[in-house]
């Protein structure tokens, strides 16, 4: 280990330029803010994961024996809220996006560094409110807050949880705003739109959703709070309201929110596959445009969560049709990534294993979406474990695999250290196996008719075997998630110093030192090559553009 520490003088970089708590809490450096986010969302990830573990333990036996019904209801509610609003939505954009967007386009920072810091503070305020809410009683409505249960019937802390999400939502809006302005205004000379990394395209599409969608959930939360405190009669039919109005408003944000989670992950996977296949992404412009198409179509499909809620059959018809329209660009992406492998030179480094994992899980998640979008089948499987399995394949299998792949890919850049490759490959394998064992049985459970959000299934003990499999898988999955955290932390102290470009990758972020200096580049880079010109790099045609003195 001493060899790892043997480098006597570290170059000045964003990590060692300033020391002290203040230099972190008042930083406007997008890279430091990314790390602040990394620490915060990891904290919430393990809280949410702990809830998930308790849920799976309760379901090990049909009877409700580990916790009380009310506790269980709070567990799945808090699991959903924490994971969706405090982990998945900020995950890739706020950590990797924050770190990489400026660097990938050759900028010194985001367009509004102070707003960037503000967004982290908003996230932390929202997070503290959520923690306080959880510690003082929590919420039991499910993360979906369906009215009139949430507005008139539950006596848990709806308003407080709602406000926490409201505040965190502004953090998400500000991040999106910052990215859009940065991508428009701060690209280095020569970094044309058609040369942008697909990671940037994905974040651009994500930002559109964050800006247009998040205000709607904020409005919805305010309406719920108003109805709860003032009994206004917006959603509760007893007061003259309409409970379906709530669902329309809620899903108008919360369906596109799924794309906030998955689009950045698709961006990561595009970068990783290109690098480890040593090729330009097959059909670059189709992959780029499909991100925008997903963002746009994603706003038009929300009522597919409501096929049995009491909407008209004609509305159901339209929303089913539109849901298939969003499936096309997703399929196009998968085909393009697959075709990228063709005649490549494929390296099996850890990030690539995660990308393969993403491909497998996202394909299954996406294809099971075809079942749910089919009206006749939706009636049977909606609100069952089939849905639970489907969205975990997308949001955890897809989004989280991409996040972990990205963390492994850019960790040398972020930390300046190399993680132990063998452990990283092992973790990728464990996550993949554990994930499938956890969630695949749930598809079967769902089709057999097990409803979600049941803490006690003693009425149907026939479901136990599949539940035991799922719980066993969750245990394995938990280990798979702990491993990277352990070896990433380990590598910060004991890992070998990372070279500037350990993967010999094409992006601008690899042209600066690892870890980068505070302003990323000593001089403004000039881009004269197309994105992913791996053929030129590997043939030695592209000169390494050292923009750091």
């Amino acid at each position: 280990m001493s060899t790892a520490l043997a480098q006597p003088v570290e170059r000045e970089n964003y990590l060692n330029k300033h020391y002290g708590v203040g230099s972190w809490l008042f930083t406007t450096d997008h890279k430091r803010i990314a790390l602040l986010y990394l620490i915060s969302i990891t904290f919430f990830f393990f809280i949410g994961g702990f809830f998930a573990l308790l849920i799976r333990l309760e379901l090990l036996t049909p009877a409700g024996d580990l916790v009380q019904a009310d506790t269980y209801n709070k567990l799945f509610t808090m699991h959903g809220m924490v994971m969706v609003f405090f982990f998945l939505i900020p995950s890739i954009p706020a950590v990797l996006g924050n770190f990489l967007v400026p660097m990938m386009i050759g900028a010194k920072d985001l367009a509004f560094p102070r707003i960037n810091l503000l967004s982290w503070y908003l996230y932390v305020i929202g997070g503290v409110m959520m923690l306080h809410c959880m510690l003082t009683g929590g919420v039991d409505t499910g993360w979906t807050f369906y009215a009139p249960f949430s507005t008139e019937y539950t006596n848990t802390k709806i308003v407080e949880a709602g406000l926490a999400i409201f505040v965190a939502g502004f953090s998400s809006i500000l991040t999106g705003l910052n990215f859009i302005v940065t991508i428009h205004r701060m690209r280095a000379p020569g970094m044309t739109w058609s040369r942008l990394p697909l990671f940037i395209w994905a974040h651009y599409a994500t930002s559109i959703i964050q800006i247009l969608g998040t205000p709607v959930i904020a409005i919805t939360i305010v309406l719920v709070a108003a109805e709860r405190t003032l009994h206004l009669g917006i959603f509760d039919p007893k007061l003259g309201g309409d409970p379906l109005l709530f669902q329309h408003l809620f899903w108008f944000y919360s369906h596109p929110a799924v794309y906030i989670m998955i689009l950045p992950s698709m961006g990561v996977v595009s970068e990783v596959i290109a690098c480890f296949a040593r090729k330009r992404i097959f059909g670059y412009s189709f992959v780029a445009i499909s991100s925008i198409a997903i963002a746009v179509f994603g706003f038009l499909v929300w009522a597919h969560h409501m096929f049995v809620a009491g909407i008209s059959v004609y509305a159901a018809l339209i929303f089913s049709l539109l849901s298939y329209s969003v499936a096309v660009p997703s399929a196009v992406k998968v085909f393009n990534w697959t075709a990228t492998l063709y005649k490549g030179s494929i390296h099996y480094d850890a990030p690539m294993l995660y990308a393969f994992g993403f491909l497998g899980l996202f394909t299954i998640g996406g294809l099971t979406g075809l079942f749910l979008a089919a009206l006749g089948i939706n009636v049977h499987v909606t609100d069952t474990y089939f849905v639970v399995a489907h969205f975990h394949y997308i949001m955890v299998g897809g989004a989280l695999m991409g996040y972990l792949g990205g963390m492994h890919f850019w960790w040398p850049k972020i930390s300046g250290r190399l993680y132990p490759e063998g452990w990283a490959r092992l973790a990728a394998l464990i996550v993949f196996v554990g994930f499938n064992l956890t969630f695949f049985p749930q598809f079967v459970l769902g089709y057999l008719g097990m409803p979600r959000r049941y803490y006690d299934y003693s009425h149907m003990p026939e479901f136990q075997v599949l539940n035991v499999l799922s719980t066993a898988g969750a245990t394995i999955l938990g280990i798979g998630y702990l491993l990277p955290m352990i070896y990433f932390l380990w590598s910060m102290r004991y890992g070998k110093p990372a070279p500037d470009n350990p993967w010999n990758a094409a992006g601008l972020e690899w042209q600066t030192q690892s870890p980068p200096t505070t302003f990323n580049f000593d001089q403004e880079p000039v881009v004269t090559w197309e994105a992913y010109n791996y053929d030129e790099i590997d043939a030695g045609h592209r000169e390494e553009v050292h923009v750091v003195g």
Binding site: P237, A373, T384
Partner: protein, 318 residues
Amino acid sequence: MAGNVDALYIFLLIVTGMMTLLVFTCVIYFAARYRKQKGVLAEKIEGSIPLEVTWSIIPFFVFMAIFLWGAVVYFKGRTPPRDSTEVYVVAKQWMWKLEHAEGQREINQLHVPVGKDVKLIMTSQDVIHSFFVPAFRMKQDVVPGRYTVAWFRATKPGTYHLFCAEYCGTQHSGMVGDIVVMDPAQYEAWMGGGSTGPLSATGEKVFAELGCATCHRTDTQGRGPNLQGVFGKPVLLEDGRTVTADENYVRESILEPGAKVVSGFKPVMPTFQGLVSEEQLNALVAYVKSLSNAGPTGPKTASAPQNAPAASKGTQVE
């Protein structure tokens, strides 16, 4: 229903299975075949527009086929056949209250005859619930403040799970029950016991108790419309719109009489919100319905013209 849904499900399993196999085979084959080798560089391939078009168009048409099939199955499942047996369902935290049109009341259990279409007219007393019978591949949210409708036809005697599928609070997972499907003979025997008379008769009593008959008279002189033969017919409203007098319209007219006033009448009816229970509402709906069901077709057609004069008379009363 189960057969239709399963057929589509199996079709989808095959289609998606093939797509998965295609993608996975390609990924695994390419990953193995083109693994890093010394001295071999990746080939430069930009993309291919014909390929992009192909793999956009083919999935699109496959998706459209799935969409159409799914829509057909859905339409069948959403449209109760005429002459279904009717059961009124009231959901509350955390139980199912069911009442047959013939008057039998049940809790968390529903007895139905095999081979008969059963239409469920459902509402909730509190939060949203969902009536889910996995064996029938049938699910419908039960929403407070309105009726939602579902139907099924059981094909095999037996006992089947009934679940609440929409999270509804503490004992959500305790809101379960059974659908007992019986042979017609057994069912008749079961029906023989414990009835308080048909639901519509209960409704008639409520109708009288609440004094509805003072205005909704059976002639044309009432301050409110004559209700004979109204159910299931289009009704012309004061604001020129036309609505069909279905369960939801009758319900709304009782709870919120001013919302859709029949053409020719004044909004003089008081609201019964809070004065009638969900069960009484159901009975009233069943009663109003029975006024149109006196015979198979006769009274229906006969009552239609009755309706129109009633409305015009109302205008004269103004």
